[in-house]
């Protein structure tokens, strides 16, 4: 097992006040390591997305702390957290959030452009990443012209184009058929994950469990189990 990528200490998050107060995450602590594919699983509403958002600098916890590569991110200023997201973390959102008015390759280049890379250079690098996900020939199409699985791969290309150390996927296979979902995860495991990377996937999809190095179970805002999968598909 590699070094610790993310360390969550007693994270608590609630929404609303008084009568309407719901505690989405109740004292969650865990570690995710480099070189590891970590799954977070659990029923709907158990707090998976909330937890994922807190460890990736998107949602501020009410209590507890998050260390990303040893740095306490919620002590940082909001612009610095934005920079951390930009430079260290790649996101694949559940419904992709591709930009319909941009071409596929421009979509992939977005993190690079936000990093101030020059436009043409960013497109060039973007094209390389599209090649990695096998969609180089779709570079000039609008994302809506692509199939769901292809869009998901574009989203992955965008997430990895910025060279993040940590990749966060929320339900990456939810809207894909079983076969496509498996292929995506297999691709992530074999091509994206490496010793310097940590990949965290939230999923309901038991068909892809066999790729996980660790599986963390959540229920009702609590982490109720953490197991290492010693015979994960490499």
């Amino acid at each position: 097992m590699g070094k610790v990528a993310i360390k969550a200490n007693a994270l608590v998050k609630w929404f609303g006040e008084g009568e309407t107060k719901t505690t989405a995450v109740k004292s969650a602590s865990f570690e995710a390591n480099f070189g590891e594919l970590l799954y977070i699983v659990g029923p709907s509403g158990s707090g998976k997305t909330t937890l994922l958002s807190m460890i990736s600098g998107i949602l501020k916890p009410n209590e507890g702390s998050v260390l990303v590569e040893g740095k306490d991110i919620w002590q940082m200023k909001s612009d610095d957290i934005a920079d951390l997201r930009l430079h260290k973390i790649g996101f694949v959102f559940q419904d992709y959030h591709l930009f319909p008015r941009l071409t596929t390759v421009e979509n992939v280049a977005i993190p690079l452009i936000l990093k101030k890379m020059e436009w043409n250079e960013a497109l060039k690098v973007g094209l390389e990443y599209l090649d990695i996900v096998g969609l180089k020939d779709r570079a000039q199409l609008q994302p809506v012209k692509l199939s769901g699985g292809e869009q998901q791969r574009v989203a992955i290309a965008r997430a990895i184009a910025g060279h993040p150390d940590i990749l966060i996927f929320d339900e990456p296979t939810a809207s894909l058929d079983g076969d496509t979902g498996r292929k995506i995860v297999e691709f992530v495991k074999t091509k994206i994950l490496n010793a310097e990377r940590c990949v965290i996937i939230v999923t309901h999809d038991s068909r892809i469990y066999e790729y996980a190095d660790s599986i963390m179970k959540m229920e009702d805002g609590n982490i109720i189990g953490f197991e290492r999968n010693t015979n994960a598909i490499p």
């Binding site: 612009d79 959102f93 941009l102």
Partner: protein, 378 residues
Amino acid sequence: MSGILKIALKLLVNDKSKFIALLVGITFAVFLMIMMMSMFSGILSRSSSSVYNVGAKIWVMDPAVNNATSSIPMPDYVLSSARSINGVKYAVPIYFGNALVKLKSGAYQAVSVVGLDDATLYGRPELIEGKIEDIYAESAFIVVKDAEFKKLESPAVGTEFEINDHRGLVVGLAKVASGGLFGIPTVYTTYNRAITYIPSMRFTTSYILIEPKHESDIPFIQQQIKKLGYQALTRDQFVKKISDFYTYQTGMGMNVLMMTAISFIVGLSISGQTFYTFILENLERFGALKAIGAKGHELITMILFQASFTALIGYGLGVGLASGLMILAKLRLPSYAAQVTYYNLTFAFIMVLIMAGVSSYIGVRKVLQIQPFDIFRG
């Protein structure tokens, strides 16, 4: 251009229908504002055309005069008193009136008649044909060759006509700096001929034109004239008095102001509304950018850029459209009064900036409110 702005531009321009709607809104507003204001400036500048054309430094008039062409005649003693004021180099009378001309074809045409002081011909126009001394010849008139010239059946030197049942003879053609507002031709003659040809009341002096010895004498001259119960205005003061009359006393200014305000409001609502919808539709995108790591100020820059880009193009189109239309109108109607001034352009530009500002403000507020977490949750 920085990459972020390029993304902003693509988000905006690639959404063709919204982009066009935005442009239409702004172009329309700019077009209407410029048209209204240009008509108004044109009318104002023409309303003072006689003041400009005569060119005197000081005008003495009855205080009730508010419009160069409707003068109130003054008794002769005002002229002699004016001449005796210290600091007055010379003072001469001028006559403004209207007469009816019977043309060769038998048609009648109203004209405005300017009667120049017989001794000095002060306020004379620049001649393009004929000699100014010929104005002293019998029945002599000089016709101004402006947009209204054709209404006199384009006379030449030597053409005869009847003016208020007297004989008239064209001895020269003149050009003047500025055309009049009322769309009738102008003829010049001597003061004495003018008052003999045109029936008048007991008093005949329309204005007294004064040339001061020095600029610094002007306040004293004005004071002395005031003591006589009359008013002495510098050219600029007189022009302003006339403009104020048209602006505030005729309802024209109010109407133009209202039309301009309405154009502005309509333009603002179309473009503001469309821009708001545009932002709303792209809210998820801005949220995704935020989640990926765009900072607040970068998103603000994008929105400001989108708003000002649209505003500038709309402004350009609006100005172009208005000028084009005015050029066309002038081709067909030579006396068409509209004029585009820097003031109008600047005013419309400021209004457009306000539109862009309001639209961006709404957009920025929305975008800063959006939580990347909400994007994340889908």
